[in-house]
């Protein structure tokens, strides 16, 4: 049995699902944020897999791979800013529990 595109995509979907599962389950801001990074990775995997399998001589697909470069850069920015906010909030509230960060409501 050879490994087909569907296998990669399924892994990617699983990664996405697990990422979202973590977001739904966890209340620790840091862990939630990590799970969000997993979701981004899922997309990276899918894009690369698609590019690899859908390449034809007439169509040397580069777009997906180039896109991945951007995604990695974006992820880095997001993490930087996100962690800055988390730290700033921690400094004020001394918590990273999402349930305790609920001054804004109703």
């Amino acid at each position: 049995m050879s490994i087909g595109l569907e296998d990669y995509i399924f892994v990617s979907v699983l990664l996405f699902a697990i990422g979202l599962f973590g977001v739904l389950l966890r209340k620790n801001t840091l862990v939630v944020f990590m799970c969000l990074e997993l979701i981004l990775s899922a997309s990276i995997l899918a894009l690369v897999a698609f590019s690899r399998y859908h390449t034809t001589p007439a169509n040397p697909l580069m777009e997906g791979n180039t896109f991945v470069l951007f995604i990695i850069a974006i992820a880095a920015c997001e993490v930087a800013v996100g962690l800055a906010i988390i730290v700033a909030l921690w400094r004020r509230n001394l918590t990273v529990d999402l349930d305790e960060i609920n001054e804004l409501k109703h």
Binding site: I9, S12, F16, G19, L20, V23, T29, V32, F33, L36, I39, L40, A42, S43, A46, L47, A49, F50, S51, H54, T56, N59, P60, L61, M62, E63, G64, T66, F67, F70, I71, I74, C77, E78, V81, G82, I85, I86, A88, L89, R92, N93, L98, I101, N102, E103, L104, K105
Partner: protein
């Protein structure tokens, strides 16, 4: 890859057409240096920023970087962006919005003990990115621009770092935004995967290009109908959900009131107007571009979403006393009406003009309200409730008058512009046969009266039970603020009577 092709592509990189954006970006950087080296100019920062924006506006209106007159409409930058009249219109729109936001920011920052220049820096860059975003013709441009904006907003929402609420709002926006980005991205990946599949009809060379994607989705052969391909559809709805987050459509609206409340007032305005408008323009681009052939799915989906949005937005705003949350929830309701207009524009050719008109009036009125809010707010601007506006008309007639006009326009009351905008959207919706949404929208307008009038009533009347607290003093607006507010209110009034400036 063949360098000739690359050269050909890079020949279409006509940077001159992005001159206004480049101007804003460079000025943003220069602004940081101005702050560093010319501290004397610090109090003037907001004016400098406004000047830059005005300059960009002038450039655009002189035809620089504008598709009009150059004959260069259509795809540029190898298909990454595409010039169109609507996009140009949106660019002007964003510039005008940012002028107001910059001004509100100036008013806001004057009351705060916060870094100043960074705010204007962020506003300028985000504005430029918005302008690129609406021209995007490619998912890479779209995603990168969108993420740039989102990162900018993470920072701006949390800008008031001495406030827990602002940081909390920043965190909420961060998590929800990142989640929606993830969904959007996964959707793009799925679309990419489908469109690049060589076994399917109409395989695209550049699957992330809107036109090629549209062509792919529209292609069928004996075996496959791409428009019913599950992966295509799923990718499309994921992309839509990512956009729905920006707009605040149910069920991706839940963050709206919290973030609006916590964010500094100018940022709330930025989110409520520019971000939402950009979202709508993207939705329009998607629905008329790549997803044009997915109507069978998108139309019922968005119809349900529009109905839920209208109901939720209006209902949740009932009884809300914090005005920023009111604005947030009512913004959700407005998004519902805009979505209705957008759906109508798929059937009725002039309806998108009505949507743009609606956006304009919504922006005018919202900025009117936000200007007043920025003036009324004390240092802590997250906790503004109706009592802060108690008897405003008497205390500060100018602010009170602008508030009444703006709220009236938001509520859609003649003779204000909001009414005409609503009317046109409603007519379009009826013409497009969107009876259910229209019905709910009308009910929504009735509900909206409750909270808009509650607010107006607070501004008109004195609440006798408010005696115990020392009456807070509200400073009179400066001349410049008066001019801007006056222009906003006057435009709101004028467009209620006269719409000749618009072509639909």
């Amino acid at each position: 890859m063949d360098t000739v092709l690359l050269k050909e592509i890079s020949d279409t990189n006509l940077w001159g057409l992005l001159l206004p954006e480049i101007l804003l970006g460079c000025s943003a950087v220069i602004l940081l240096f101005v702050d560093l080296f010319l501290p004397k100019l610090r109090p003037q920062l907001s004016r400098i920023a406004i000047g830059v924006l005005l300059l960009a506006l002038a450039l655009l209106s002189l035809g620089v970087g504008c598709s009009c007159g150059t004959g260069l409409s259509g795809e540029l930058f190898g298909g990454l962006i595409s010039h169109s009249e609507e996009a140009d219109w949106m660019r002007v729109f964003f510039l005008l919005c940012s002028i107001c936001i910059t001004h509100i920011g100036g008013v806001f920052l004057k009351k705060q003990n916060l870094a100043q220049v960074e705010f204007f820096h962020l506003v300028l860059i985000v504005t430029a990115t918005f302008m690129v975003l609406v021209q995007s013709n490619h998912f890479i441009t779209l995603f990168v621009a969108l993420e740039t904006i989102t990162v900018g907003f993470y920072v701006m929402v949390a800008y008031k770092r001495d406030s827990r609420l602002s940081l909390e709002a920043g965190l909420k926006y961060l998590i929800m935004g990142a989640l929606s980005s993830g969904m959007l991205l996964f959707g793009i990946a799925l679309l990419y995967g489908s469109a690049s599949n060589p076994t399917l009809p109409g395989t695209a060379l550049n699957p992330l290009n809107f036109d090629q994607l549209a062509h792919f989705i529209g292609s069928t052969d004996e075996l496959f109908n791409n428009s019913t391909n599950f992966m295509v559809l799923f990718g499309a709805v994921l992309v839509l959900s990512g956009i729905a987050f920006k707009i605040g459509l149910v069920p991706f609206q839940i963050w709206v009131p919290d973030v609006y409340q916590g964010a500094p007032t100018p940022v709330t305005a930025f989110l409520a107007v520019s971000s939402k408008a950009a979202g709508f323009f993207l939705l329009y681009l998607m629905l008329t571009g790549p997803f044009a052939d997915l109507e069978v799915v998108t139309l019922p989906l968005l119809t349900v979403v529009a109905i839920l949005t209208l109901l939720f937005g209006n209902v949740a705003a009932l009884g809300q006393r914090n005005v920023k949350r009111v604005i947030g929830m009512s913004g959700v309701a407005h998004a519902g009406i805009l979505l209705m207009g957008l759906l109508a524009s798929l059937k009725v050719d002039w309806a998108f003009g009505a949507v743009l008109f609606y956006l304009t009036t919504y922006a005018l009125a919202s900025f009117g309200v936000f200007e007043v809010m920025a003036h009324v707010a004390s240092k802590d601007d997250a906790d503004q409730d109706l009592d802060d506006f108690d008897d405003l008309l008497k205390k500060q007639p100018y602010l009170g008058g602008v508030l009444l006009v703006s709220l009236g326009s938001l509520a859609g009351i003649p003779p204000l512009a909001g009414f005409v905008a609503k009317l046109l959207v409603f007519i379009a919706a009826y013409q497009a046969g969107l009876y259910w949404i229209l019905g709910v929208a009308l009910v929504g307008v009735v509900l909206s009266i409750y909270y808009y009038f509650g607010w107006m009533r607070a501004a008109v009347m004195q609440n006798p039970f408010l005696e115990e607290e020392a009456p807070q003093t509200i400073a009179s607006p400066s001349i410049g603020a008066r001019v801007i507010m006056g222009l906003l209110a006057a435009a709101t009034l004028l467009f209620g009577f006269y719409q000749g400036l618009f072509t639909f």
